[in-house]
């Protein structure tokens, strides 16, 4: 075995730092015991560095590997999948630390760190994550750089500075590559993050779910409208429709319950019969949504979506909401055109649909059912009945984020006893009351409203904007939206919970919590605007955006133009960098004195006089003068001139140089042709 390679101390420090930075954001996604492994490795490394412990022996290493593999299997129960693979990578990286014997190992570790920095972007692509990634990258560059700095430890700040310079030199070229490198699209299917907690509105709704969700914090999505933003009470972002109720929990209708064609119309499929039952009227409203990862498949839109993203992965469900084939693991941008004025399934419903939308579990909430039948009997029309129920809410109920817990007959208890609830209580009990009275109704879950950011002109919809409301089917009019919460707390419709009950929905340590302070408010808006712009410009830069941009830049894309653009752009970028590098290491400008001296050197070389390395002009002249006394005087004169200009900084007239050089020439010629004393004279006469 070759001698152990000792990584420079500063390099080791950088490496551990870079690795630490790269691992930290991944730890949230991975089992906790990895932190323990990390701590152990760091501790061992420290002890080894201080000379207290040896590097682990073969058996200990084997044991550590076995324990880690067992731990991975115990945590995940499988090895394929993104999280287990990332965890395995981190394990390998950490354990490799204990086995750094050769320079090759150190390099491998350094490269793996680069890869790890990339892996963290799989889990988060926010602006913060990107900035953090740059910091990681800087550190990783330092570690690689300091491996090549044998005396790096003497200049601690130097690696950082040089790495920063490299970073700055590289970024322009990277941007160019980013703009022009073709995006190929997925080559093969890859495992997606699966362990991540699903966020946002879920596909089940039980009492208490939404109030919990409203406190989970964070942004759900951001919307940019092509034209004007509709009023807040129109911003019902529809995500899910619940038709199935088991007494406590609402769920979506089963797929097989649909009997009139496929339950989802994917883009590119032929239009099924049910598609004809939705008709939009009036102005169209186009907007584009950037959805934060939900790890779910549904998308949000305003009813009624008439056109939407062209990709084959997008589809319209039977209940007129948008879907995507794969769960959304990364920020997703999609555009939709909606018509807010619409008629949805106005035609009489078939028997199976009526059954589906009137379904109630047997044996639950008897008091409510009784009351519903009574009120329905008293009311002349559906409309009057709906108004009666809403009146009941309006008279007695309070809207609260902290509703009391409910038992088995949740609707009964809520309607007639506790009378305090959040949107899901109102929506759920309202729909039960409707169904009990024979009016088809369903619960719709999504978000309501949004916060306007004037810096970039878009809406931010937060998790605390999550909302549930009802849709009621009225013969001849179809599905009509009714929001029972509006009856109880009309201010909720106008205002988001974030403004209305800030302290309840925002975390203690967050900008949103202190939004009443003007400075924090503007900072919060600005930060979100940056984040939004970051996504729009960078994360969302896909194949279409690329071809649009190149089209605009080059006025039509052709291979020749592209190649020229790359060559010219790359040449310009590299040229600037080279100019900077050259300027930093530019050689001394050659002065007249040096130029003349070189000329004299060339003359003397013909006679075999060569100046030794490190010999000053004066020494050189002295050495020659000892042997060739004829040259002594002219050389002395020249050296005096040289020293005057070069060292004292006094100016020497061009005339003087010419004279000095001439006298040296004359002396040299006399040496060569001692028999021609009158030569100079004759020449001047001619």
């Amino acid at each position: 075995m070759s001698e152990r390679y000792l990584l420079p101390r500063n390099s080791l420090l950088w490496m551990v730092t870079a690795q630490g930075l790269a691992i930290v954001p991944l730890l949230w996604q991975l089992p906790l015991w990895l932190t323990g492994v990390w701590g152990l490795v760091l501790f061992w490394r420290l002890q080894e560095f201080r000379g207290h412990w040896p590097m682990p022996g073969r058996w200990i290493k084997a044991l550590l590997v076995a324990v880690s593999v067992a731990g991975l299997f115990a945590s995940f129960g499988r090895f394929l999948g993104l999280e287990p693979m990332v965890a395995m990578l981190i394990c390998a990286l950490l354990l490799k630390q204990l086995e750094m014997q050769r320079r090759k190992d150190a390099l491998l570790l350094s490269y793996l760190t680069f890869f790890l920095i990339g892996v963290q972007f799989l889990f988060s692509q926010t602006l913060l994550a990107s900035v953090y990634g740059v910091v990681c990258l800087w550190c990783a560059l330092c570690s690689l750089l300091s491996m090549n700095q044998p005396v790096g430890h003497l200049y601690p700040g130097r690696s950082l500075k040089l790495a920063g310079r490299l970073l700055l030199h590289t970024i322009p070229l990277m941007i160019l590559l980013f703009l022009v490198m073709p995006r190929i699209g997925s080559l093969w299917s890859v495992p997606s993050p699966s362990q991540s907690a699903k966020t946002g509105v879920s596909d089940r709704m039980s009492p208490g779910d939404f109030s919990r969700l409203s406190r989970s914090g964070g942004v759900a999505f951001r919307v940019e409208f092509d034209h004007e933003i509709p009023p807040a009470d129109q911003l019902y972002w529809r995500g899910l429709v619940f038709s199935r109720f088991d007494g406590r929990t609402w769920q979506q209708a089963q797929r097989w319950q649909n009997r009139d064609g496929p339950s989802v119309m994917w883009q590119g499929d032929s239009s099924p019969a049910w598609r004809q039952q939705a008709r939009g009227q009036g102005d169209t409203l186009s907007y584009s949504i950037i959805l934060e990862p939900t790890h779910q498949r549904w998308l949000f839109s305003l009813t009624l979506p008439v056109e939407f993203e062209r990709g084959k992965d997008f589809g319209l469900a039977r209940d007129y909401r948008l879907l995507r084939r794969q769960p959304i693991h990364q920020r997703l941008q999609y555009s939709v055109t909606s018509q807010l004025d619409y008629t949805l399934e106005a035609e009489p419903m078939p028997e199976w649909r009526l059954q589906q939308e009137l379904q109630l579990p047997g044996g639950f909430n008897p008091q409510s059912l009784r009351q519903a039948r009574q009120w329905r009997g008293e009311a002349d029309s559906e409309q009057a009945y709906i108004e009666r129920v809403l009146q009941h809410f309006r008279d007695r109920f309070t809207y609260t984020l902290e509703p009391p817990l409910l038992g088995d007959h949740s609707v009964d208890e809520f309607l007639w006893q506790t009378q305090q609830g959040f949107c899901e209580h109102f929506a759920s009990s309202f729909v039960v009351m409707m169904r009990a009275a024979g009016i088809p109704a369903r619960v719709v879950a999504g978000y309501l409203g949004g916060e306007y950011n004037e810096l970039e002109n878009y809406l931010v919809v937060h998790q605390y904007d999550a909302h549930a409301w009802a849709e009621v089917w009225i013969p001849g009019r179809g599905w009509v939206r009714v929001d029972p919460t509006a009856a109880v707390a009309p201010e909720r419709i106008r205002q988001s919970l974030g403004e209305w009950q800030t302290s309840l929905v925002e975390e203690t340590v967050s900008l949103g919590r202190y939004r009443h302070l003007p400075l924090v408010a503007s900072l919060r808006m600005r930060w979100d605007a940056w984040n939004y712009r970051w996504h729009k410009v960078v994360i969302g830069f896909d194949r279409d955006a690329q071809s649009d941009l190149l089209e605009n830049l080059l006025g039509g894309v052709s291979p020749l133009k592209l190649v020229l653009f790359v060559l010219l752009g790359g040449g310009a970028v590299i040229g600037m960098m080279m100019a900077h590098l050259w300027w930093q290491s530019r050689p001394e400008p050659v002065t007249r004195a040096v130029r003349e001296f070189r000329r004299v050197e060339r003359l003397l070389k013909r006679l075999g006089w060569v100046r030794g390395a490190g010999e000053t002009p004066r020494d050189f002249a002295g050495r020659i003068s000892e042997r060739q006394t004829e040259l002594a005087l002219p050389l002395q004169g020249f050296t005096a001139l040289f020293e005057r200009q070069q060292y004292s900084g006094e100016a020497v007239a061009a005339e003087e140089w010419v004279q000095a050089l001439k006298s040296i020439r004359r002396a040299l010629r006399n040496l060569k042709y001692p028999n021609l004393p009158g030569r100079e004279k004759r020449r001047s006469q001619a």
């Binding site: 390099l107 491998l108 490269y111 680069f114 890869f115 920095i117 990339g118 892996v119 972007f121 799989l122 692509q125 994550a129 990634g133 990258l137 560059l141 690689l144 750089l145 491996m147 090549n148 700095q149 044998p150 005396v151 200049y155 130097r158 040089l162 490299l166 030199h169 590289t170 970024i171 070229l173 990277m174 160019l176 590559l177 980013f178 490198m181 190929i184 699209g185 997925s186 080559l187 093969w188 890859v190 990364q330 960078v538 994360i539 969302g540 896909d542 590299i574 960098m577 080279m578 590098l581 050259w582 930093q584 290491s585 530019r586 050689p587 001394e588 400008p589 060569v610 390395a613 490190g614």
Partner: protein, 299 residues
């Protein structure tokens, strides 16, 4: 040129690009592009780390055949700026296994000694010097070959053996030299002004014989001529080796010695300079090469 480490680096880039493409993740793609661009940038950084560096051979020290000849090299990076242009991790090597690493960070000039194995007597022209740098990231290698115009004088290998190679001289065995510091009493001499009072023959003066001083002298060893012809029957190199051995031996004593080679002779003398003259004559015997002067070689 990408180094071996650079190939590993590029494979990381490919891996990242595949990941970024498959996940359609622009940030990972961006990272892959960053590393690609970094590679390109490194080519220039590595080049500029070496470009403009001035490497000069200042002097060489002689050695014996088979020993390591010593070359003193001066690395400098002339700069128009106040602070020196930093150049880091520059490796100078004649052979792959023994490289010397030089860093110019705070000083603009550094002198290093290089050693090179010599095989033959005479003026030894060192092999081409490889100047190499992997700085900054070790993923790109920039190198250059330098011809060093600073030959090293290589003396014959001293080989012990044989008698002192002298040819008995025809004349007297030695000369008697007057030497005021010597111990053997030689005779009297009439006093001259300035003579040491310790040497005055006070006994003679007391007898009224006048002022005399005592004269001392020593016998010098006979002058030694190390002679080519005394080593009949040996080959040229063996003769030179033996002469070299005795020259070293004799110069360790204070005895004057001379050297006679066919066509070359060095008059007897002592001292370091004389020793070098003798050794040089031995080194260059039969090799009519003149000494070239040190020359600047820029990279």
């Amino acid at each position: 040129m990408p180094s071996k480490a650079g190939a590993g680096f590029l494979s990381v880039v490919v891996l990242l690009w595949l990941t970024g493409t498959n996940y359609e993740n622009n940030l990972i793609l961006g990272l892959a592009f960053f590393l690609t661009a970094l590679f390109v940038v490194c080519i220039y950084h590595t080049f500029f780390n070496m470009s403009g560096l001035l490497i000069e051979a200042i002097k060489s020290s002689p050695c014996f055949v088979g020993d390591d000849g010593e070359l003193e090299m001066q690395l400098s990076s002339p700069s128009a700026l106040k602070r020196p242009v930093a150049r880091e991790n520059i490796q100078l090597s004649f052979a792959a296994d023994q490289a010397i690493t030089v860093d110019l960070i705070e000083h603009s000039t550094v002198t290093v000694k290089l050693f090179v194995k010599t095989l033959e007597r005479g003026w030894y022209q060192p092999p081409r010097l490889k100047v190499e740098s992997h700085f900054p990231l070790g993923i790109v290698r920039c190198w250059s070959w330098l011809v060093i115009d600073q030959p090293i004088l290589v003396y014959p290998k001293p080989i012990a053996g044989g008698e002192l190679p002298v040819v008995p001289a025809a004349g007297q065995d030695g000369e008697r030299l007057a030497d005021p510091g010597a111990e053997d009493f030689d005779g009297f001499k009439r006093y001259q002004l300035g003579a040491s009072p310790r040497h005055i023959a006070w006994k003679h003066y007391a007898r009224g014989q006048g002022l005399f001083t005592k004269e001392y002298s020593s016998y010098r060893e006979p002058r030694v001529w190390l002679d080519w012809d005394a080593l009949e029957g040996l080959g040229q190199e063996s003769r030179l080796s033996r002469l070299c051995y005795w020259a070293l031996k004799l110069s360790a004593t204070q005895q004057p010695y001379g050297l006679r080679l066919p066509g070359v002779s060095v008059a007897p003398s002592t001292g370091l300079e004389h020793k070098q003259r003798v050794l040089k004559a031995l080194a260059l015997f039969g090799r009519g090469a003149g000494r070239g002067a040190g020359k600047d070689t820029g990279v």
